[in-house]
Symmetry: C2
Subunit: 153 residues, 2 copies
Amino acid sequence: MSGPLRIGALAEAAGVSTRTVRYYEQRGLLTPAGHSVGGERRYDEVSLARLRRIRELADILGSDLDEIGAVLAAEDRLATLRARRQAGDPAPARVARLAEAEAINAGLQARVRDRIARLQSMLDELEARSLYYAQMRAELSASSLAAPSPRQV
Amino acid sequence: MSGPLRIGALAEAAGVSTRTVRYYEQRGLLTPAGHSVGGERRYDEVSLARLRRIRELADILGSDLDEIGAVLAAEDRLATLRARRQAGDPAPARVARLAEAEAINAGLQARVRDRIARLQSMLDELEARSLYYAQMRAELSASSLAAPSPRQV
DNA sequence: GACGACTTTGACGTTCGCGTCAACGTCGCC
DNA sequence: GGCGACGTTGACGCGAACGTCAAAGTCGTC
């Protein structure tokens, strides 16, 4: 639908500033789809999707642009591998691409799992205390049944 | 065992620089246990545990000292609630403390669960693709059985 | 072709989380 | 009480991830 975007429109669509867009370009995360004759940056739907993905990753992983860049690079590589797929493709090539894709996917999974594991260990401790609190609560209500209220004795 | 620590010993025991220790103090995360007559910072085992906890949280949550501070504050509050517990304690007071502790614990759990959820959603996608790859691999090996190798035909 | 809205590059400012001097004082052991 | 190791405050430096302002050019419309 919507054609080429100027930087302001792109930025607004993604909820970031134009400065941020330019900074991402400087850091190699987002390249304009093209340029106008006068030299203005032009973007498209793909740019927008990528920019949104960057923000999503920032939300998930934290705003470490280097790490986001690494993840994006991995995802890009997966995309090109997918794009290379064609019907009359020699089997060995397909096997090789599949192997690479699986390796990249495994790498990404490892990154994410590692982070989850750290958080999970913290959550485990919190849940353990939670159980302890539940037990305390049970004991307290039991004792209050034994001696419901000072007045009632 | 070991008595009061000077800043250098504390920092080394925790694997950080003395600058970092002073910065944490400035940010309100770590207060010295006391001071020498001459004005040097003195720390103890509790300080060391806290400093290590700060680094642990940084590892788990990322190095946002404000958030780490918030978590520490919550944990501190839990600690003082625990410390207030005594034998001949009126039941209502115990109930109140328990309720507050459970609320704080729930808040911390919410924070952590939220982060885990984000990461988990990303992991889910990766695992989905992983399954897809496995299927591709199965199909490929099936077709290679049908026509094992070009040479064998 | 003029006008207003938008962009460009460049540069300086800001907040974090420290690293790194500098100039001075403290500790504790001989 | 002297000496070397260590600590104190203060200040500037640094890379990250942008915000902000200036001077100039571009875009599309009237």
